[in-house]
Point group: C2
């Protein structure tokens, strides 16, 4: 499928010794020519060094980007002045090998917080990466970004206008709403002015990466980058490009939830009948983050009272007596609650629906006409196993 990829971009991945032998742990994405670029970043007050570095770089009036270096193993977060220096040094090392300026290289890190980057390994990794660049190495690059992920996340899109997009992402834990959740890089060979790129990225992330919840924990490193090198020669139409970017971001975001730490189910939490869309989303987030709701999802237990209870402490105003709740999959719809009280539903059918791998829970608040939704997963024994011994 290399013809579907964005022209003028190459990728590479290596094992640099940051993870156990045999596992890819560094990736590099390079454009043959300078790109316009945009990024959205975590809103966590504790921002990792690479986030601070990239934000400063992209804020420069004439920012242009040639490459992105990714490492796993260490998040380079809560590492003080040395962490920032190590981020700069990583970019510098790549720039020297690629023959560009250090301020044309972005860096992404993911892994343990509060651990300094092992710069000898990083330096050797960067050197190996620059010698391994290929136009069709995206799947391996996505693999090299993985931490507790169980599979790489890649999405591509070819537009009728004649340009393409490729996106890679990682993310499985510390995934929460209200920000740009996790690491993702999307590249395109379209000609896209920087302002248009920024607007398109905001729109696309709002309906994709900002709609997912795994565990409700907001990371220090969340970053989504988009690079446009113009190699197709096609001037992007803003509406078409924004749609194409969303078409790449949505499957990447959904892939993160499907591969959520310990996840066994992919659940859409839909809230309708809200006073406004922001309230609907707040309510959906509260439901999707509730440990009790998520364990009930895991156990295929149609314990809808937990969903209603979470809505009740979300801060959104509604009258419980006006609420209704449904379970839904591709084939069936089962109403569990009407007017705030239980219906005479078929318990066995509800359990069978929830035992499926993908379904929706829909709460109507009866307090307006706004609606929103989130994608989330369940909370399983495996989530606890993964996170109680993540570092060991």
């Amino acid at each position: 499928m290399s013809e579907a990829y964005a022209r003028g971009f190459r990728a590479a991945s290596v094992h640099a010794g940051l993870k156990p032998p045999g596992k890819l742990d560094m990736a590099l994405i390079v454009s043959d020519s300078p790109c316009t670029a945009a990024g959205v970043f975590t809103t966590n007050r504790v921002k990792a060094a690479p986030v601070l570095y990239d934000q400063a770089l992209l804020a420069a009036p004439n920012a242009q980007v040639r490459a992105v270096v990714v490492n796993t193993g260490s998040a380079n977060a809560a590492t003080g002045a040395l962490g920032l220096e190590n981020a700069r040094r990583t970019a510098q090392l790549a720039a020297e090998r690629l023959g560009c300026r250090a301020d044309e290289v972005l860096v992404l890190s993911t892994g343990v917080i509060g651990m300094h980057l092992p710069m000898d390994k990083i330096a050797a990794g960067v050197e190996a990466l620059t010698g391994a660049l290929r136009a069709d190495a995206w799947q391996q690059a996505a693999s090299a970004m993985m931490t507790t992920d169980t599979r790489p996340k890649l999405a591509t899109k070819r537009t009728e206008a004649g340009y393409g997009l490729v996106g890679v992402a990682k993310g499985a834990g510390m995934i929460a709403p209200h920000m740009a959740t996790m690491l993702a890089v999307i590249v395109t060979d379209a000609v896209v002015p920087r302002d248009m790129l920024r607007r398109a990225l905001q729109t696309a992330t709002t309906a994709s990466f900002n709609r997912i919840v795994v565990d409700g924990d907001m990371s220090t490193n969340d970053t989504v980058l988009v690079l446009a090198n113009g190699a197709s020669g096609v001037q992007a139409d803003e509406a078409e490009f924004t749609q194409a970017l969303s078409d790449v971001c949505v499957p990447l975001a959904q892939a993160i939830v499907r591969d959520g730490e310990g996840a066994t189910k992919f659940v859409t939490v839909r809230v309708s009948g809200a006073p406004c869309e922001a309230d609907a989303l707040t309510c959906a987030r509260t439901i999707a983050t509730s440990a009790l709701v998520k364990t009930a999802f895991y156990g295929a237990d149609p314990n809808w009272g937990r969903v209603l209870s979470a809505a009740g402490y979300s801060g959104v105003r509604f009258d419980p007596a006006q609420t209704a709740l449904w379970l839904r999959d591709g084939e069936r719809t089962i109403q569990l609650m009407a007017a705030g009280a239980p219906t005479d539903y078929d318990e066995a059918a509800a359990i069978a629906l929830m035992e499926g791998a993908e379904w929706e829970v829909h709460l109507d608040l009866g307090a307006g006409h706004a609606e929103s939704w989130l994608w989330t997963c369940d909370l399983s024994h495996e989530y606890v196993t993964i996170n109680s011994h993540y570092r060991t």
Copy 2:
């Protein structure tokens, strides 16, 4: 220890068929004479029928209370008009047997949401309870309130002034901040005017039941009641009574955390150096509710980056470069972070400390002089087991 109990109060417990055979599932607390009473209740917008019923009863200008009926099995929440009628009917049944008015009987329910009370069993249970009242049956009454609790929660206090207090509580899951968390009833034979009782209860719950987090889910049924029947003849001094009430509420609240669903550790989360006390508490709550922090507690993993990251998304303003973090138990203090970056701490010692059953994690934000704390537990495999199949 019956001499330590509050005079003029009796309690009873029975198996009414709401839980499997052999398990106590209803309790009754009765005062021989009318009591002043006060209550604090969940702030969840979805309030259970017994909460709405009790709130209305206690709001009456001349409210006085003779008894409290408790049932497990069904929370009588999200049960509409029939649920409220069933709460009233339960009080009426008890009042008829006790020879008092229905509006002198409070009701408490805990269990599954969205399930109607089985009124035939409730009626038989109330009848059995009224025949089983004893002055020294408090431990059994506490047992009859349990759901996923593994042990009853009882606390007593005898004051120098010559009156006593007895408290019983239940709670293990759906425990979260910002409200009166769970069910608790405290009785005293002191003479306490209603206004003083209300003020004392607010003060005591702020530093006890509102300082605990198990899973971050706020219940629809949380209620703390205090009844004063004056049988000792001693007029309570407000300062002494408030302190005595706190002395009963604190161990009950701590007992709920120690018995939290699946809990293996009791952890104090302390936040200092905050701009104001409310910020310190908000930050502590965000840390104590984080799934990643709680699984790290479970695994005795000194992954302090998760604590800092949670503080970073708590909404509280601080500069990460000014933060510091310690682990502490009765014997040792280990500093893991200084000035926002890792110290050269002894990893094995930190793990050993966290393997203990009770310790403190202390984050200083370096942004002021206010401090606060919360009591919480870890998130274990057992929590997931309990909550994925709670109803089955």
